[in-house]
């Protein structure tokens, strides 16, 4: 486990007293707190270097450009991605919308299928519902197992059932509501294997080796490529991401959940999609251009700069780079071990409480959070009582209404962790739950 006594000193907000009690912050899946070094990078930028990037010759503009570009290199490296593959956006939601507008608009057609998981956050559902509405495409959900894990068998069945129709597969790397962690290797392998089968079938048919009547007419138009989008909002804060080794096409993340500032996040796009123009800019304006004429515009040669229209949030980019450095210094392997240690401790402590029903996986695959139902008490009431003890948790459907509806859960209470949390925080939570029982039961 990490030395949280030292880490806590870097997070001034954690010394706050809430309702007479020391703050116990367990709402990290919603947003994490920020170390002093991140806040300092932001304020130092505005106090010393503020100027617009790329379009100036003066010293401040040079400094600002250098800060922006070196920060970008650090962030891309942190995610194991090429500099070209990182597109700055505000957050995961905006990244997913970017895929819908920059890729979906020109690649999704009527009758195409997008596979989505019931575990997905609203941001990875609503965006695709809207795209499917515009394109008359179909959104198909993959279910979960009884213990709240991504149902690989159901996924297999749907890959087969909709073979030839599926253009995009989306899912969360880690579920924000249940902490269920999806093994990317397994999913990617299944998707790519499906593609190969389709390519072989197509080739055989085109050579008349397989009878043409064995497939429906639409199969012949089929493009074997299936694109994969991973919502990494809840995994990036806890584990090492090596984008270039994942063999996925899109990876979305938010800076603010990984100790960075709000308002900055990233969309990682496999370089090939940018080179071939399969993914196109969806925001237009200054900065992303090479030439502008009255009749037409030629976009910036730089693959990722052509996606940054208008003045970028340089201060937040600088802050996010420092957050990446902070996590790197702790070591992402240690960060993950720390998180899994807290999750397992929370599960074992909460299970001792007979009023608590834990939802989601209970094994070592669970990452980031523990959610539960306190029998007989609504989650908002649980959270309110915990707040009176200085404990911050989240209650409700956690932006996963389809999941909650499918499981007939009205609302759940979620405790989620970061590098500064310790077992003492979980002890405070279990003590707080005793107060809940005292008041309501």
């Amino acid at each position: 486990m990490l030395n949280t006594d030292n880490i806590i000193r870097n997070f001034p907000i954690l010394t706050r007293v809430i309702n007479g009690k020391k703050l116990v912050y367990l709402d990290n899946a919603a947003t994490s707190q920020k170390p002093f070094s991140v806040v300092e990078a932001i304020s130092s930028y505005y106090l010393n270097n503020n100027a617009n990037v790329h379009r100036g010759v003066h010293t401040l503009s040079d400094e600002s450009t250098t800060i922006f570009e070196t920060s970008k290199i650090k962030i891309a490296k942190f995610f194991g991605a090429k500099n070209n593959e990182l597109i700055f956006v505000r957050n995961t939601t905006e990244a997913i919308n970017g895929v819908a507008y920059g890729w979906g608009e020109q690649n999704i057609n009527s009758d195409d299928v997008i596979l989505v998981s019931i575990l997905d956050h609203h941001s990875n559902i609503v965006v695709w519902q809207e795209l499917c509405k515009r394109k008359k495409a179909r959104l198909i959900f993959v279910g979960i197992t009884s213990d709240g894990k991504f149902d690989v068998n159901d996924f297999d069945a749907k890959l087969k059932k909709f073979a030839g129709k599926i253009k995009l597969v989306v899912f969360p790397h880690v579920s924000n509501a249940l902490g269920s962690t999806i093994d990317l290797k397994i999913i990617v392998k299944k998707v790519r294997a499906t593609e190969k089968v389709r390519v072989v079938e197509k080739t055989l048919r085109s050579k008349n080796i397989v009878s043409k009547s064995s497939g429906s007419k639409s199969d012949f138009k089929f493009d074997s490529k299936i694109r994969i989008l991973v919502d990494g909002a809840q995994s990036a804060p806890h584990m090492k991401i090596n984008f270039d080794n994942l063999d996925v096409d899109f990876f979305a993340f938010s800076g603010h959940k990984m100790l960075g500032p709000m308002g900055i996040g990233g969309l990682l796009v496999r370089e090939e999609l940018l080179i071939t123009n399969e993914m196109r800019p969806w925001l237009f304006g200054g900065g992303m251009i090479a030439e502008v004429h009255e009749s037409h515009t030629i976009f910036n040669d730089n693959l990722s700069e052509r996606f940054v229209a208008g003045t970028p949030d340089v201060a937040s980019v600088a802050g996010l780079a420092v957050a990446c450095e902070y996590l790197e210094n702790l070591g992402m392997e240690n960060v993950l071990i720390h998180d899994h240690g807290l999750v397992q401790y929370a599960l074992s402590e909460l299970e001792k409480n007979k009023n608590v029903e834990i939802v989601g996986p209970k094994d070592e695959t669970r990452t980031g959070s523990v959610s539960f139902i306190f029998k007989g008490v609504h989650a908002h009431d649980v959270a309110q009582v915990l707040d009176s003890e200085g404990i911050a948790v989240r209650s409700g459907h956690h932006c996963t209404m389809p999941l909650h509806t499918s499981q007939k859960w009205i609302a759940t209470t979620r405790a989620s962790f970061q590098v500064y949390n310790s077992k003492a925080d979980i002890d405070a939570l279990t003590d707080g739950l005793k107060k809940v029982a005292k008041i309501f039961l």
Partner: protein
Amino acid sequence: MTDIYQEDLIDEAKNPNNYGEMADPDLVSTQYNASCGDVITVSVKLSPDKLKIADIKWKGQGCVISQASMSVLSEKVKGLELEKLQKLTQKDVLQELGLDEISVGRVKCLLLGLNTIIKLVSK
């Protein structure tokens, strides 16, 4: 910072080499500097075996850095194999200009000419 406005550099920009138009070019390309609007048009005549630059002419509007670097580059690439030309870098252009370094904000000015020629011969 180093003083980039050395006298010979300003002279180079004011009296550029190979400036003008070509009657019957093999290749022509125009490139803009997106951050300021500087523009350079390069015309090239290739050797009979199409492996070398036989002749080059260029016209442009822009700052001393972009025009002087295009001027020195036009001298450097005349007679040069296309293969070698494509390997030229920022360092080579700086060297031709007699500069050690340049600020980030001026890199695009410095490389406008080089990018134009490389794009042209890559077609």
